[in-house]
Each structure stands twice: as structure tokens, then as C-alpha cells.
């Protein structure tokens, strides 16, 4: 088990370096002088030609691409992602303040999607080809098919504009901050993101529960006199749960993609909104920083999936 994780870790590190090469390739493609991304704008504007030349030398920008990459990578690994072209702030700082809201949104959405997917998937598996099963399939296909931004617009139309129940913009009302206000702001984006993400989970739970419910040990549990609820949850679902955790962990990137869109619609001050607005404003250094952050996040969630898989399953755990 240890060797397996170490191997996975090494593979991920290797993949990370390959991705940094790809990202650096994009850096290289950015229009304009690369020095603008690595030195704050006020210094560039006030600095003399000598200062800029010296900076250029320090950053390795007068040397070969390989050296430039190396400088860039070392900087990035030390948390130096350059400076926003828009306002001269450090990219790490700009990104840093956006991580929290995104994590909050994704976390709540993930919980919601599981709360939708697990009961529905189990119910569908227990009564195959029943009304429940068909509606679960329709719900799951719907959640996969209907773009989240469209669902978001419909929700805003009803809940914000017609019923005026919920806000549709931002993370909180700065004039009247309260827990209730925070929750009210969270409801629509988290629900929609969670619903949109529940389809794959539901399909997974359904198909894996169908398999587990036919397993011999389920019959053993029934033969012991265990009531159906206990047979389904303690016996069958417990067996589905382990691979489900892996599925959930490896689904984090998809959740993130959904968050990018949801944040844009609901003006949620997270990484996704930052990324889209940076793209629209050609703030290349922030885009690059975002890309790097996403790469790390994706690889970490992959690794998490591996670790979960090895840690939670007693069959693997003790091998």
C-alpha cells in the first residue's frame, strides 16, 4: 500500500512538472513584454531603463527559454506568481483572497449533491424499473444536460425577481452582515451547483447499489434477521461508499468547472469569477496563476482519491 501511494505521488509530481511546462508555454505565448507580468507596474513605470534591464537580467529574461522556465518555476514554487497587469498586486495575494469563497461554495454544493444523489440512487437501485428509478434517471440526465447557467437564470427569475426571496449576487450584503444573510446568498448558487453535480454521483450510487444488493453477503444479512433499512445502509451501502468516496474526490475538478460558471452568474467573488474577469481584461499573469492553482488542485484531488481508496477499504488497507 505504501509503495502504491509513493508511486502515485511520483507520477503526480511528474505530471505537475509537465503541466508547468505547458503553462509556461502559454506564458510565452502571452502578448506583450513578459517583464510586465513579473515586476509590479508602478516599479516598471517609474524605473529607469537600467533598472529594467537589470530586472530583466535577474529574472533571466535575457537568457534561453529553458533558463526562463527555470526562473519562472522556482519563483512559482516559492509563491511568486508575478503581479497583476491590472492593478499591480501580487498574483498570490489576488488569488489567495478568492480561494475561500470558492471552497465554501464547492463544499456546500458537494454536500447538497450527495444529499440528492445518495437517497435517490439507493431508492432507484432498490426498485429498478419503477417510477422512482425512471424519475431518478430523468433527474440525473437533466442535471447533466441542462447547463447550470440556464438553471441559474431560471432560478434568478423566480426566486430573486418574482418571489424576491433570495439575493442573486455576491457572497453577502456588506451593509447588513449576518449569518442568515450569508446563508441566503449561498442558497441559490450552492443548490444549483450541487444539483448540476448530482447526476454522475446518482448514476454511480445506483449502479453500484444494484451490484451490491445482489451480493451474497446481503442475503447473509437478511438471513440473520436484519431489517431492510439495515441491510441496505449498513451492509450494501457501506460497500458502495468506499468507491463512492473515490468518485467524489476525482469529481472535484468537474465541480470546480461548474463553480467557475456559477460564480460568474452570481457574482460570487471566487477564483472562477476572477479567472473569467481576468480573461476579459487580459490580465495574463492572474490567468497563469489561476492555471497553476487549478493544476495543483486537480492533482491534489487525484491524490486524495488514491489515498482515500487505500485508507478506507479494509481489503486494501491491511495489505
Amino acid at each position: 500500500m505504501g509503495a502504491y501511494l509513493v508511486r502515485r505521488l511520483l507520477v503526480n509530481v511528474l505530471v505537475f512538472f509537465l503541466i508547468t511546462v505547458a503553462i509556461f508555454g502559454l506564458v510565452h505565448k502571452t502578448p506583450g513584454d513578459p517583464i510586465a507580468m513579473q515586476v509590479p507596474a508602478d516599479q516598471l513605470n517609474s524605473g529607469s531603463a537600467d533598472f529594467i534591464a537589470q530586472k530583466r537580467h535577474e529574472l533571466g529574461l535575457d537568457q534561453s527559454v529553458v533558463v526562463q522556465y527555470w526562473h519562472w518555476l522556482l519563483g512559482a514554487l516559492h509563491g511568486d506568481l508575478g503581479y497583476s497587469l491590472l492593478n499591480g498586486r501580487a498574483v498570490t495575494e489576488v488569488l489567495g483572497e478568492r480561494i475561500g469563497p470558492t471552497i465554501e461554495l464547492m463544499g456546500v454544493a458537494l454536500v447538497i449533491s450527495l444529499l440528492v444523489a445518495i437517497p435517490l440512487g439507493i431508492a432507484a437501485a432498490r426498485r429498478r424499473n419503477s417510477v422512482v428509478d425512471y424519475s431518478a434517471t430523468v433527474v440525473s440526465l437533466g442535471s447533466v444536460s441542462i447547463p447550470v447557467f440556464f438553471v441559474a437564470l431560471i432560478a434568478i427569475y423566480f426566486f430573486t425577481l418574482k418571489l424576491q426571496w433570495l439575493p442573486s449576487s455576491g457572497i453577502s450584503d456588506p451593509t447588513a452582515p449576518s449569518l442568515l444573510d450569508t446563508i441566503r446568498h449561498l442558497v441559490l448558487p450552492a443548490l444549483i451547483l450541487g444539483f448540476g453535480n448530482s447526476g454522475p454521483f446518482m448514476r454511480y450510487v445506483r449502479s453500484s447499489m444494484i451490484t451490491e444488493l445482489q451480493a451474497d453477503y446481503v442475503r447473509t444479512a437478511e438471513a440473520k434477521g436484519a431489517p431492510p433499512r439495515r441491510v441496505v445502509l449498513r451492509h450494501a451501502f457501506r460497500n458502495s461508499l468506499i468507491p463512492l468516496l473515490t468518485v467524489v474526490a476525482s469529481n472535484v475538478p468537474q465541480l470546480l468547472a461548474g463553480a467557475v460558471v456559477i460564480e460568474q452568474v452570481f457574482a460570487w467573488p471566487g477564483m472562477g469569477q476572477l479567472a473569467v474577469s481576468s480573461v476579459n481584461q487580459h490580465d495574463y499573469s492572474v490567468i497563469i496563476g489561476f492555471a497553476l492553482l487549478i493544476a495543483i488542485l486537480v492533482l491534489l484531488s487525484n491524490l486524495l482519491a488514491d489515498v482515500l481508496y487505500t485508507l478506507v477499504d479494509p481489503r486494501v488497507r491491511l495489505r
Binding site: 438471513a223 434477521g225 479494509p314 481489503r315
Partner: protein, 325 residues
Amino acid sequence: MTVLLRIENLSVDFHTDDAVVHAVDGVDLEVHEGEIVAVVGESGSGKTVTAMSVLRLLREPAARVSAGTLAFRGQDLRGLSPRQLRAIRGGPVGMIFQDPMTALNPVLSIGDQIAETVLLHQDRRDRKAARARAVELLALVGVPDAAHRARQYPHEFSGGMRQRAMIAMAIANDPDLIIADEPTTALDVTIQAQVLQLLRKAQRETGAATILITHDLGVVAELADRVVVMYAGRVVETAEVHALFGKPRHPYTLGLLASLPRMDTETDRLDPIPGNPPNMASPPPGCPFHPRCPLARDICRTERPALLDLGDGRRSACHFHEELA
């Protein structure tokens, strides 16, 4: 002896998309208190399905079960509420399954699984006591270092050890009836004898009657008091074990015995029964055994023989049982 379990005219059909399989077709079975009844037959003869239908463990609606009588301790099992049925499952009736590899839940510890059986049949839910009882049961079925092993998972147990754990589960609540479905089939030959020993010991200590389902006549000879031979979803012969081995009264039983290696005869030749068991989606008319039967005549192809009482607790479903007498 009082009758513990009485099954009369049990039929089980499996409905699939394009066929109906008559897995069990009018089976009668009686089990008296404390006796070991072996149900013997090739795979597909309906013996496991018969056993499963006692505790109504077959998956409905794919399986359709009908019976004239299905009574345990005089209580009709067919009319029980789910709750009453659960009180019987794992309580007065314990089950042992064929493949201990898959019959145990891979993600729960052995101790938890045994304790669960105890807990489910207790009024007050005392987890600690149930765990202690689980360890005690494991020790009883001969698992060394039971306290430690109880914390382990099924994959850490060998096949034989798993089957011991299954037996511990079956006897956890001091049952009146143990149903053992091919308990040794999935095990190594060397382990089989040990598990059979254990089964006998468990049976003696609990005094439970046992239905032993097997296709292994060696096992039957060793353990059973009475034998029920099944073929193609029907009982073809039943007799006390010595009588059956001494003088079978059905050509199928005869065939089974002939295919058994024996120490006490001169012949070193084994005669397996020619042919295969019938497809139960479309069984042959008349006696289902006639395509493979050396005694088959015209009547066998058209008329289904009834299970006749031959006296001395013997029954045979053959038109020509007298020729075998």
C-alpha cells in the same frame, strides 16, 4: 419425534424476460426435531432454492413461491409479517451459505458481523455483551485467538476460518434449525472434514435439527440421519441414511451411488450418470429423469411418477421402484 419443519407441495418459479424456470416443482419435506436431513442432488436440482424458500430469502417478484404448507414449529411461515419473519431468521433458524468468501461482508469485521446476529435478536441492545458473545462464539467454533481475530476482516480469514465464522453466526442464538447450504463445497478437501466435524459438534451442542444441502454423498454418509434426493426440482427418493445407501429405490439414487468411489466393493470402475440434468425452462414430459434412466420405458415418457410411500419412512418416485427392491 415432533415435526419441526413441514413443507408440502412447494413450488418455485423464476420469471425472466423470456422464460419461466420451474426450479422447484411440488416438493414435500419434513424435518423432525434434532435430526440431520441431507438434501442431495446435482446442481440445478432445486435443493438450494428449497432451502432458501424456508426463510423466504428468494428475491421476489422474480421468484414466485407457492406452497400448500410451510410451517415451522407449527407456525405458518407464509402468513408472517416481515417483522415476525425477521425474528425467525437468524434466531430459531440459522443459515450457513455455500461460499464463505462472498457470504461475509468484506467491509465489516468478523466480530461485528457475528455480534450483529446476536444484537438483532436481543430485546435490550447491549453492544458490549454482543461483542463478548461474538468472541465466545468464535472460540467455540475453534477459531484460535478469538478476541484478536474478531477484530479482523473476512479477507484476513482463510476459507475454512470464514466458514467457521459463518457457523458461529448460524448458532449465535441457539437455533432449533440450522440450514447449511453446501457448507463445504467451496473449501479445500483437507478443510472439509474439519468443518463437517464442527458442524456435527455445533449440531450436538445446540440440539438443532439440520438441513444439510450437498451434492457430496460422502458428506451425507458421514452426517445425515435421513436423506432426501432431489432431481429436476422434485423429490425422487427419501429414506433413512443406511437404508438408502444399502438399497436405493430410485434409479437416480442408484446412479448417484454408482458414481461414488467405494472401499467395500471389488469394482474399481466409477459409473457417472450419462447425460445432463434437464433445462428447467422446458423439462421433459413424464418422469424428468427418463432421458438418462436405464430403466426408462414408454410410460416414463408420458406419465409423471408420484412419490409413493414404501413403508419404513421410505418414499420413491419411480414407476419401477419394485424392480429395485
